[in-house]
């Protein structure tokens, strides 16, 4: 008894700002929420490890799995390399040199994020067709096998290039602040210690930017893994396409689930490895502001322009121009009202999920903030990361599994049953929240870090309870990150395709699903209308977030 009291008291003083019962209750709540949010992931992993592999697994394993893995690997590596190529030089130029148009470029370089990968894939259709005469010539002169190879490389090249051009901003955003602050600061220190350009690059800049680049690369790879529309349009059987096919073509949910589990396990392993490799070196934040940047001469400015324009041209200008061309040349008029219900649905869907994500993130992070324990921080991060690690299709499979499980458990309660019907919006909201919680978590966590701890300490001393402190001190200061998180979650969700396709309620079309089905039915040019609306809305959101960040 005394021992317990001693522990209790120790716990109380250690946690500083909150009472021990509050901490325990809070942790319990975090765990429960976490379990609910991660239930799809757990379901899949558990099913893959213990359950049956489904009747069709041998068939899938023998005929579909290896080619799918190979295709996916080629795409992942290709897109990773090309997006590094697009993002790093541009981030470097922007952070180290002062040239005319620099501020404009820093906004434009983010805009390709407004273009969903599958739309980027669709717009290349006509451009790729123009290569056909050249391919046919290869066939006549060099034979069919060479032709087939050339055709394959041609398609791979296009898909990799176009996907990299709309995904590179993830790396760009992650690395540009490192280049601008830390990297420059330490580069100067290295200079004074006698290190020349190449040595600085090798020993300072590359190691410093590596963690940020890897974090950005992870996001890029997750997008490639989650993609369904782009790969399918190009005729590539990636792992995600195979999961779809097993699910619908063969009607074998169990095999689809097993496949999903394998993929998920792979991603989680990579995620853990990535965290481990960061090791003991913590890189911390820069403290100084950017010094005046070096001005470039004429040739330098030209080089910077080329480096910065190329990604924007391919990833934003080209899609935009193509879509506008389709809209004006092949459609009668821009009938915005025709897509009114899609616009409303897309907006409501994204905002609802964003709201839920923000509430959950705020709770997790505020709690971690007040207990000041690493454990809570790590828990919060682990929960969001695990959700994000599930590619969209995998998450859908998991959620449906949880849905059917919940129905069998609630078979007595009729009203609960009707609520949990698989077509209802609840499951889509749930799946999207579980998947994109990481986005809001990241933004809000960064926001919390800008609030100095003395602030809440003074508030506490003045007699306010923790959650009042949160409401009156933290929340107002988090206004910008909250808006940013809302917009970023919304943008990510509106670009998302497979999850929405699979889990949406009946007769529920978003701008994304409309674009997809129009192309699927052969109305390529008609898809320009919802696509343009979608890209327009996302671009506006991204620009707002960029300005919010600038104000800081």
């Amino acid at each position: 008894m005394i021992h317990f009291l001693k522990q209790f008291r120790a716990l109380r003083s250690h946690t500083g700002l909150t009472s021990a019962p509050g901490v325990i209750a809070g942790r319990l709540l975090v765990l429960i929420l976490g379990l609910i949010l991660l239930s799809p992931v757990i379901f899949i992993l558990w099913g893959a490890a213990t359950g049956s592999h489904g009747e069709s697994w041998p068939h899938v394993k023998e005929y579909l799995l290896t080619p799918a893995l190979k295709t996916t690997a080629i795409l992942l590596i290709g897109v990773a390399l090309v997006s590094l190529l697009f993002s790093l030089p541009a981030a470097w130029c922007l952070s180290n040199y002062q040239f005319w148009g620099r501020r404009l470029f820093s906004i434009l370089l983010i805009l390709p994020l407004a273009v969903p990968p599958y739309i980027a894939a669709y717009i290349t259709t006509e451009a790729r067709e123009s290569a056909i005469p050249w391919l046919v010539e290869i066939r006549t002169n060099h034979g069919i096998d060479t032709y087939l190879k050339a055709e394959l490389y041609h398609r791979y090249a296009w898909l990799i290039a176009i996907m990299a051009s709309v995904l590179y901003p993830y790396i760009f955003l992650a690395t540009r602040s490192v280049f601008a602050h830390r990297s420059r600061q330490l580069g100067q220190a290295a200079q004074l210690l006698g290190a020349g350009r190449w040595r600085r690059f090798r020993t300072i800049h590359v190691p410093l930017v590596r963690p940020a680049a890897i974090a950005g690369l992870f996001l890029v790879c997750m997008e490639v893994l989650s993609d369904y529309g782009a790969a399918k349009h190009f005729g590539f059987n990636t792992v995600t396409v195979v999961i779809f096919r097993t699910w619908f073509g063969l009607d074998e949910l169990e095999t689809a689930r097993f496949l999903s589990g394998t993929i998920l396990a792979g991603v989680l392993v990579i995620l853990i490895l990535e965290r481990l490799q960061r090791g003991r070196a913590r890189f911390g934040e820069a403290h100084s502001s950017i010094d005046n940047l070096q001005h470039t001469g004429q040739s330098g400015t030209l080089l910077c322009w080329i480096v910065c324009s190329l990604p924007i041209a391919l990833g934003f200008a080209y899609p935009l121009v193509t879509l506008i061309q389709w809209q004006t040349e092949h459609q009668q008029n821009f009938v915005l009202s025709e897509y009114r219900s899609e616009i409303i649905r897309t907006t409501l869907l994204t905002l609802s999920v964003a709201l839920i994500c923000i509430l959950i993130s705020l709770f997790f992070l505020a709690f971690a903030r007040f207990t000041k324990r690493r454990l809570d921080q790590t828990l919060a991060q682990a929960i969001s990361s695990a959700g994000y690690a599930a590619p969209s299709t995998v998450m859908a499979v998991g959620v449906l599994g949880v849905a059917s499980l919940s129905r069998t458990f609630s078979s007595e309660n009729e009203s609960l049953q009707s609520l949990l019907v698989s077509g209802s919006l609840i499951w889509l909201l749930f799946a999207l929240t579980s998947r994109y919680l990481a986005v809001s978590g990241q933004v809000i966590s960064a926001g919390f870090q800008t609030i100095p701890t003395p602030l809440e300490q003074s508030a506490r001393i003045l007699g306010r309870k923790p959650w009042m402190v949160f409401l009156t001190i933290h929340l107002p200061l988090l206004r910008a990150p909250l808006i940013g998180a809302t917009i970023l979650v919304s943008v990510d969700i509106s670009k998302e395709l497979p999850l929405t396709l699979l889990l949406r309620p009946f007769d529920f079309e978003t701008l994304g699903t409309s674009t997809y089905s129009l192309v699927n039915q052969g109305h390529l040019f008609a898809s320009a209308t919802p696509a343009l609306i979608l890209i327009g809305l996302c671009a506006i959101g991204l620009i707002i977030v960029e300005f919010l960040n600038r104000k800081k």
């Binding site: 899938v60 056909i132 005469p133 019907v421 039915q521």
Partner: protein, 336 residues
């Protein structure tokens, strides 16, 4: 008391005012459908509510709603989907001698589970400048001929049309021959399958392939298109209706089934009657270039230009049974 009575009368009036309606779950999504359904409402006063989705989604939906159906008619673009729906027990018999009498003998499902509305043939097109009519393939089996290596364009095996085609081959020739056929076709592909039927024809026009497999009505759409590229593509290809000497050209049927437990059966039947009336059947042929299904229907000039052809009605009944097998065969030969 007076209040209660007034409310009651009020509600009665409302229910009378509520127009008759028929609710559709439809896979069809053509502009022509909008026009025709609008005409139906104008003529009969019955409102049409339509929800569009893919076959899988609709089937899953109907299964989930078995006890309380939310729609009256299920419209599909593929006979196999209708058969699957029927096998799942979500459709009821049409039971209309009038409607059945409009169709040619032996046409349509054996158990009266659904009604055909339009028909399309799966045809072979060939580039007129690169393939002489004499050497063009005359049967589906010819497509597997090694002479066509690297010259054939066909869409993905995820397409229901291709799955049904292979299913019909399994039904008539058996699994072994079907496998060999699929392997041969896959070896002849000029490119891994991309895009829809229309893209295959365009691919032939652009020269990437010399042969393509497509649905007959796409040819009509291309011919009537506003886009000159489309019209040129149509001009540059010739059309073959395969297997005329054998079992006939594979056709896919677009049809409708009445959903079990619906409360608007009368209205549903009225719509079915409307869609299979001579005027509307002729209209379908004109607007979408699909073939009408009723007896003694004159073809559109555009369709007449393709020539008379013999459709394969036999294997229609077995399509649903072999669909899953077909998908597995596609995987086996590596036809994505």
């Amino acid at each position: 008391m007076i209040l209660a009575r007034t409310t009651l009368i009020f509600f009665l009036l409302i229910s009378l005012l509520k127009a008759a309606e028929v609710r559709l779950y439809s896979e069809r999504h053509y502009t022509a459908d909008k026009t025709i359904l609008a005409e139906f409402t104008k003529k009969t006063g019955i409102e049409v509510k339509i929800v569009k989705a893919g076959a899988n989604e609709l089937l899953a939906r109907m299964k989930a709603e078995k006890d309380a159906p939310q729609a009256d008619l299920y419209l599909s673009v593929d006979a196999a989907s209708l058969e699957r729906a029927s096998n799942a027990g979500v459709l009821q018999k049409i039971e209309s001698p009038d409607l059945s009498s409009r169709l040619p003998k032996g046409f349509g499902p054996k158990d009266d589970a659904w009604l055909p509305i339009t028909m399309r043939a799966r045809v072979i097109v060939y580039a007129k400048d690169r393939v002489k009519e004499a050497e063009a393939p005359k049967t589906y089996a010819d497509l597997a001929n090694p002479q066509w290596r690297g010259r054939l364009l066909i869409r993905s095996s995820t397409s229901h049309y291709n799955q049904s085609l292979l299913a019909s081959i399994i039904a008539s020739d058996g699994k072994g021959k079907a496998l060999t056929w699929a392997q041969g076709v896959k070896n002849n592909l000029a490119r891994p399958p991309q895009g829809g039927d229309r893209d295959q024809v365009r691919g032939v026009a652009l020269g990437q392939g010399d042969l393509a497999v497509t649905n007959s009505y796409y040819l009509g759409i291309l011919e009537n298109s506003d886009d000159e590229k489309d019209r040129k593509a149509r001009e540059s290809v010739g059309v073959i209706f395969p297997n005329q000497d054998g079992r006939g050209t594979h056709v896919n049927i677009s049809g409708a089934g009445i959903i079990k437990g619906t409360k608007n059966k009368k209205e549903a039947l009225a719509l079915l009657g409307f869609l299979t009336s001579p005027e509307i059947q002729a209209k379908y042929q004109k607007l979408t270039s699909e073939f009408g299904v009723i007896k003694d229907l004159e073809r559109e000039p555009l369709q007449k230009a393709w020539g008379e052809f013999k459709p394969d009605y036999q294997s229609l009944h077995e399509l649903a049974d072999h669909q899953k097998e077909a998908v597995k065969l596609f995987d086996l030969v590596g036809w994505p």
